[in-house]
Amino acid sequence: MTRLTIVYDEHCAVCRRARDWLLTQPTYIPLELIAAGSPAAVSRLGGLPWLGRELIATDDEGNIWVGPAAFLTALWATRRYRGWSYRMSGARLAPLAESFFKMVSARRHRWARFLDDDEEECTWCQN
């Protein structure tokens, strides 16, 4: 793997905040963050049912991680939190990390009002 691409939901303030944070982190491999609605994402991953609904991580070898797995893979790419990505995928913490990620992800559009964010509101999500 020489590059990791993270596809995030650009209509959600939490996701944009997470993207901005991830961009500031030193990583082991080059990280690319693209919006789920962007032409690049649609042309590469348009066939996937999760595009725009779940966080997606993909590398240059065609491996695809979805949801909590994508979250862990994004953490794994960072120098500072690679150790945590293993801890959180271990038997003890994995269920906790997974439910936490799912909880945040499912309600991601509701968090927007708590974040001081003036980008566009979500117009198409079903939540």
Partner: protein, 136 residues
Amino acid sequence: MEYGIVIYVIYAAVAIGMTALLARTLFKAGAVFLDDVFDGNHRLAEAVNRLLVVGFYMLNLGYGLFLLRAEPQETAFDAVAYLVNRLAILLVTLGVIHFINVLVFWRIRHRAEMSAAPPPVAPQVILKDDLSTDSV
């Protein structure tokens, strides 16, 4: 009789001997360790190893010599007690420094391992070249 000079001589001999022995151990064991970390880059491994051992020598000898400020002792018993006390402090300190050194080696190795480690979870889907998807 004056015991100050005797204390100095014995102490210096033991301090230098211990430091040299520990440094040799560190150098030999560290070489194996660092060779693995630097992925067979022997020259780099040897350079790092040498630098660590030089630091170890300077720190230990400097501290060891600094530690001894013997005053002339009245009796032979006082002299021996003082010597033993100094050596004890020196050995404990050498032990602590040695463990810090091992910790440094371990951290270097851990960091190297981390950078080569695969993702924590397997991908759910592997996209083939022909864009058909395979679930795993």
